[in-house]
Amino acid sequence: MTETSIIICGQAGQGIQTVGYVLAKAVLRSGYYIFAWQDFQSRIRGGESSFRLVISEKPISSLPEKYDILVSMDKSNTPLYTPLIKSSGIIIAENGSGENFIEVPFQKIAVDIGGNKIYSNASAVGAVSGILGLDFKKIENVLKEEFSKKSDEVADKNIKVAKYSYDETVKNNSKKFPPVKELKNPGRKILTGNESLALGAIAGGCRFMSAYPMTPSTGVITYLSETSQKTGILIEQAEDEIAAINMIIGASFAGVRSLTATSGGGFALMVEGLSLAAMTETPVVVVLGQRPGPATGLPTRTEQGELNFALNAAPGEFPRFIFAPSDAVSAFHLMIKAFEMSQKYRVPVIILTDQYLADSYWTVEDFNFENIKLNDYFSKPEDVAGEFKTYSITDTGISERLKPGESENLVIADSDEHDQYGHITENLTIRKMMVEKRWKKLCLMTDEMNVVVPDGFDKAEIVLVSWGSNGGIVSEVAGILSKKGTKTESINYTEILPLKIPKEFFDKKRKFKIIVVENNFTGQFAGLLEKEGVKIDGKINKYNGLPFTAEEITGEIKKKYDKN
């Protein structure tokens, strides 16, 4: 098997996520790469939802247009997802008919073998792994790990049901798929974007998180809460998002690295706090998980509609960092970088994610923990000469920082315009100085930014530009187009503000076309480049709440540029 794609569909509350996750883990341990996206509705039970799992021998981070296998846990869902299955594909469900149909009585097996229909999921897991030719031992182990948290009996029953279903499926069906082989397993991991951000926060020295639940970002605080006994990170659910950001500003002022996470509506409520962080030069890291807006919009879907908002949110003018991770590894490392940068420059950092990044399972080769190095950006009280100035004017705009209470030095911060000591002032000469001080940081901040650009990309015909979670998809598109004869390169921005632009983009005689691919209506990243003087040759936008597929983008480009 080189690549197999599976949809597991069913109602909310049926546990399709468990089915998908158990399969994914088992396959991962056979040495494959995994990518899985979750498509669900804003409800708790019923309706339509799916877990889309792609298994591949190569790294993967995008979804196909059509899938190989549909596993349906719910009759009413089957017809909805059937159109997404290849004509060569198969459908596994309780009942149905047709050549490509494999009937597995999930519920009956669950009751017969496990004594309860709640084991239907295990039955589905068994059936699919049978079809995939997975080594059952792998499934058994994962089931044991997942369910022995509840009880050994539950774990056992899950295993029994899965095994039965596995055996039956193997027995009754001539395999239609090249089986999952046993490849080398170098200890890869799968985790969601949110889990990865949370892990990055732990690695980045986070000590306090406060947030108010909001899809698709809730997973960050949930993971940090679940692991808080091990990490010692203090977690507090706030009464609202305004409290959340103000609490972390307090904690950060006191001296610890602090985090919050939300979505667009909650971020809107944090905007005044963001400007407080900026004015008081208190570092904060804010995760803004985008979903389709305006207002409540589509809570469980994906979009990249809040770049401009993140860039310009908050009263008054101040510099900030904006990062937009492309996948789990990038989420992990950018979270660490976010903490480092916010501490070093005492500015707010916004991490833009979206439902596609946050809820998807990504394969990670290695986080390379050993390479993580955190710097302590606090000064030593004994090194401070004279009366301490929270906002001392320096060449770089960065002032010394101390923790209140640590020494005789008093730390004074103010949301009003202030003098170097932090006291309120209406002296307009100081005002001017302070505006310039805050902006002086921009120069060094810009030096910190990395934009990864393929060697000789300017020799391409088309350069696809994307940002954030579209990185994997767009790089795949570049590969497809190049293979078809149109030399295409892709550049994905994960470090967005301060913006760095490859000089080749400005070349008046450049041969390559710049096409910007974004999950929004107005082309926000394209606009950002345009503002800096880059001519954009084409924009590809999607705004129905779903992520792009490579096929879709390839199709658009073909349409627009009549490329093969």
């Binding site: 507090e236 103000n246 005044e272 911060a413």
Partner: protein
């Protein structure tokens, strides 16, 4: 022992001459002396308004934040460094108006901080609009036909919400006020001190008017008696009680008092352990 002068700074006040805010400033300083708190041990978090300028006229650590948002900032500070003595200083608009939701939930959260509310029954800094505690019928530029909304009773609200420490002070009774502040700071848990603070510029009533009516709660009042506290807080009539109305000892937030500010970086062993669950 610290002295009053240890908290003195040389800023020039932006308060009106004769304002009762000065009395509160002195009471706060007195309380610090009585408690022998070093300036460096104290953090005052304030909002925006006339009253919240107070920490600029003191020597201590200061975080002067946004209008209405002092409580969550103070909560964050105290949560990660329990060794600090954390106070908030707010106006009534600040604390009961814009910041009302934080108050409601801080009662429940119960961080070990002390909140001083300068209740002058007006939005002073924005030039005299009604605040949540302005009396019915009072006319202002904005409430041109007089205030229509019932004034909020902060003490009754705090008591019914099981606030850990509830008191009322009077800016004109420096001695008692500083005693109350001392008790509030010493109390483990969220201590709310509403202070009657006559405003010489916009105020309906001035200090002499209050002086006749105000009395100190005596030993006959048991602050552990919620019902009695509520009765005092909702009492009508000519007399205004000051003192500690209610004390309710209960777990604070966070329960474990750990100074997280001393805790830098992350143990890679923990990371490696967590990572395993994803393999």
């Amino acid at each position: 022992m610290t002295k009053i002068d240890d908290y003195k700074n040389n800023s020039i006040s932006a308060w009106c001459p004769g304002c009762s805010n000065f009395g509160i400033l002195n009471a706060v300083k007195n309380a610090f002396v009585k408690l022998d708190k070093l300036p460096q041990e104290i953090v005052i978090v304030s909002g925006i308004g006339q009253a919240p300028k107070l920490p600029h006229y003191l020597k201590c650590n200061v975080f002067n934040g946004l209008h209405g948002r002092a409580l969550p900032v103070a909560t964050g500070i105290k949560a990660v460094n329990p060794e600090l003595t954390v106070l908030t200083v707010c106006g009534d608009g600040d604390f009961y108006g814009e910041g009302g939701n934080h108050l409601l939930h801080t009662f429940r959260r119960n961080p070990d901080i002390t909140s001083i509310v300068h209740n002058n029954q007006v939005y002073a800094l924005t030039k005299g609009q009604a605040s949540p505690t302005t009396e019915l019928g009072v006319k202002t530029k904005l409430q041109f036909d007089g205030v229509r909304e019932e004034p909020l009773n902060p003490l009754a609200l705090a008591i019914i919400m099981n606030c850990s420490f509830v008191a009322r002070g009077f800016a004109g009774d420096l001695e008692f006020l500083s005693e109350i502040i001392v008790a509030g700071i010493q109390h483990k848990g969220f201590a709310m001190i509403d202070i009657i603070q006559p405003c010489v510029t916009f105020g309906v009533h001035q200090s002499p008017w209050y002086k006749d009516k105000i009395y100190r709660l005596g030993n006959d009042h048991n602050p552990n008696d919620k019902e009695a506290a509520l009765k005092k807080a909702t009492a009508t009539g000519d007399k205004i009680a000051t003192g500690i109305f209610y004390i309710n000892n209960k777990p604070i937030f966070p329960e474990k008092e750990i100074n997280l500010t001393e805790n830098f970086g992350t143990d890679k062993k923990v990371l490696t352990e967590l990572e395993k669950s994803f393999c």
